[in-house]
């Protein structure tokens, strides 16, 4: 019984504190009231003994005077004493009223404290319930929040994935575009190159024909040029067409034929130049093969 109460007190310190204080105050007031009534039961101004009986004494003038003075003085003292008593009574009355008021108040307070406790308990209960509710709510919210977070995370992941996919697609498209561009460029370049090569080839063909014409025109065939003559002469050409070196390669002809060939290629200098400088060749080998 005591343990449970203690437990309760511990759990309700404010309420217990208040009720203890209340009991103490009430106890103190009860003791004070008793002593007040015991010590001055007649001094209570409110009970009609405002004039106490006076002992008469004859006195000469001087004595009268003295007596008068003394009476006066006593009167005065009595009056002072009565005023004092009256003040004291009033004071006590006031204190009692105050105590009563306080008691009432305390009662009130006690009552309100009890109801407060109940209220508090109810409140506590409510609070507990609320708390539970809140807890539940919080849990629910936490769950919801988690679900929400999960959802967000999922959405975020999805978004990221989508973004990644988009980026990948973009990269792919970019790459494809680049590749297509490169392919197109390569094709254009290949075509240009092909055209250029064709042009060079044509220029070279024309050039070679012009060279053949000039060298042939300058080759005076010796009368004894043998059938099946096959002589090579290597020449080095400047871009101007000037033959700077003519070196005889293999030759099955006589020294006269060799002379005629060397003379022909030198006399043909400067050789024609190609219309396209790229068709130019610095090294040329002439094969003198008449009749082939």
């Amino acid at each position: 019984m005591i343990g449970a109460a203690w437990q309760w007190i511990r759990s309700q310190p404010l309420s217990v504190g208040l009720s203890v204080l209340l009991h103490v105050v009430i106890g103190a007031l009860l003791i004070m009231g008793t002593s007040l009534h015991g010590a001055n039961p007649h001094d209570m101004p409110g009970r009609g003994n405002e004039h106490q009986p006076i002992q008469a004494v004859v006195v000469n003038s001087t004595d009268y005077e003295a007596a008068e003075d003394s009476i006066k003085k006593a009167q005065q003292d009595k009056e002072a004493h009565a005023s004092k008593l009256k003040a004291e009574a009033e004071q006590a009355q006031k204190a009692r009223e105050k105590a009563e008021r306080e008691l009432t108040q305390l009662k009130k307070q006690r009552q309100s404290t009890a109801s407060d406790v109940a209220n508090q308990q109810k409140q506590l209960k409510d609070q507990s319930q609320q708390l539970q509710q809140l807890k539940d709510q919080a849990l629910k919210m936490a769950q919801e929040r988690k679900a929400y977070q999960d959802k967000i995370a999922k959405l975020k992941a999805q978004a990221e994935q989508a973004q990644k996919a988009q980026a990948a697609e973009k990269a792919r498209l970019e790459k494809a575009k680049k590749e297509a561009e490169a392919a197109r460029k390569a094709q254009v370049q290949a075509q240009m190159q092909a055209e250029q090569e064709a042009a060079i080839k044509k220029a070279r063909g024309n050039w070679v024909a012009a060279i053949i014409h000039k060298v042939s025109s300058n080759w005076i065939r010796p009368p004894d040029t043998p059938q099946g003559l096959d002589c090579n002469v290597h020449i080095t050409l400047l871009p101007s067409g000037d033959v700077v070196a003519a070196k005889m390669g293999q030759c099955n002809g006589s020294s006269v034929v060799v002379q005629s060939i060397i003379t022909a290629v030198n006399k043909a200098s400067p050789l024609p130049t190609p219309e396209d400088p790229q068709a130019f060749s610095r090294q040329i080998t002439f094969e003198f093969v008449p009749g082939q």
């Binding site: 060079i200 070679v208 060298v215 022909a264 060749s281």
Partner: protein
């Protein structure tokens, strides 16, 4: 001049060349030109107290021109006239497109001249020949022909035949006052010398292979005789003196036999072989037709002669050992007077075409005949000893002259010579 025809071929090789574009460009030259080689023979410097009796460079240039293989630059086109001691500026010669250049100097001491000459390839600057040869001042012309021969040989690879002699018959005057001379001259017709002077008809001279003797026909009292005369001493002897026609003597390549024509019966001349050592005569042909104008093949094994045994004069060939004569000319109704080339591959002859007598060349291997002259009276062809030219007579009457034609028919040159009708030329061997 043959035109250069090379455009279709050029296209083909252009393609071939383009195919090997990146490597060394290889270009085939399949055509050349058949043109005389342009040369320059600069007047030789003459270092002598007397004026030069002969323009040596001019003789050389004329020889080269006559060969048909060279086109000497006229002196007026020479930008410089260097001599044997000059430093040559080849640009001067490239500028006038000559392939080869001849410069020379002649230093005279007393009656002896020293001819120094140099031959250069203008385009390589290379000296092909540098030579110094002595000569008598009064024999400078022949020395000039020797210079021409050396140049010719160097540039053609063939021996030259300018320093050789020719013989021919000169007929002057008419009727009873007529005279006939057997003339010997340089190959260009200059430097003439009458070896035989005769009031009777002279015919058919022929040099011995060594050139020291000449066989010929002389009519005396309407009788023809065949004489052989030493060129240097003038001594002569009758080789044949038969009744009837004695004609057309021809020395064999070894000089030991003389082919002759005899007509023991009127109108039936035949070819005989006369052994000069023994005087023995051997009949070669036996046809009833006319067989005449014998010519030896270079190997001395066969005789090519003219015969009308087929109805018209044609050339036949038969071995000197006898046997059947083979007809070798088939084109036209008149082919006569054979002269066999030194290499034995072709025959120069007289061909009649539309009444015009022309010198023609017969290829013995193919039977193809090429006209070398235009006529109308070109006769008596005789090959030069190097086979590059043919000497013949052209024109008629007192205007009959001697001329040469190159074997490709490209160059015709009339020879200088004495007045009178010049006929029956024969070209002597290279000494």
């Amino acid at each position: 001049m043959r035109k250069l025809v090379l455009f279709p071929l050029a296209a083909v090789f252009a393609i071939a060349a383009a195919a090997t574009a990146r490597a060394d460009l290889v270009i085939k030259i399949t055509q050349g030109v058949n043109q005389p080689t342009p040369v320059a023979v600069v007047p030789f410097a003459w270092n002598g107290s007397q004026p030069a009796p002969v323009d040596v460079a001019n003789v050389v240039a004329s020889d080269l021109l006559r060969s048909g293989l060279f086109a000497p630059l006229p002196r007026g086109k020479m930008l410089a006239q260097p001599n044997a001691d000059s430093k040559i500026n080849f640009a001067n010669w490239k500028a006038v497109s000559v392939n080869d250049l001849v410069v020379g100097s002649i230093d005279v001491t007393g009656d002896t001249a020293q001819i120094r000459f140099r031959l250069f390839n203008v385009y390589t600057g290379q000296q092909l020949v540098g030579y110094s040869l002595p000569a008598k001042v009064n024999d400078l012309r022949f020395a000039a022909h020797q210079v021409a021969d050396m140049i010719y040989q160097k540039l053609t690879g063939r021996p030259g035949a300018f320093a050789t002699r020719i013989a021919y018959i000169r007929h002057d005057g008419t009727g009873k006052g007529s005279t006939w001379d057997l003339v010997i001259a340089d190959s260009d017709g200059a430097n003439t010398q009458a070896l035989v002077k005769s009031s009777g008809l002279l015919m058919s001279p022929d040099f011995s292979p060594s050139g020291d003797r000449i066989a010929y026909v002389q009519f005396e009292n309407d009788q023809s005789h065949i004489y052989i005369q030493n060129v240097d001493t003038g001594q002569r002897k009758i080789a044949l003196k038969h009744a009837g026609v004695n004609g057309a003597p021809a020395f064999s390549p070894d000089g030991k036999t003389l082919a002759v024509v005899l007509s023991t019966r009127p109108g039936d001349p035949d070819i005989y072989l006369l052994d000069l050592a023994t005087g023995q005569l051997q009949q070669l042909t036996h046809s009833p037709a006319i067989d005449t104008e014998p010519a030896w093949t270079p190997d001395g094994k066969n005789i090519i002669f003219t015969s009308d045994r087929g109805g018209s004069p044609q050339l036949y060939e038969m071995p000197i050992t006898g046997g059947k004569a083979q007809r070798i000319t088939w084109d036209g109704s008149y082919n006569a007077r054979a002269s066999v080339s030194p290499d034995g591959k072709s025959v120069a002859l007289v061909h009649r075409e539309n009444g015009s007598l022309k010198i023609a060349l017969l290829d013995l291997a193919t039977g193809n005949m090429t006209m070398l002259t235009n006529g109308p009276t070109d006769v008596s062809p005789s090959f030069s000893p190097n086979g590059a030219m043919i000497l013949y007579s052209t024109g008629s009457g007192n205007q009959r002259r001697l001329a040469t034609v190159s074997v490709d028919g490209q160059v015709h040159e009339e020879l200088t010579g004495a007045a009178g009708a010049l006929s029956q030329p024969v070209w002597g061997n290279i000494p």
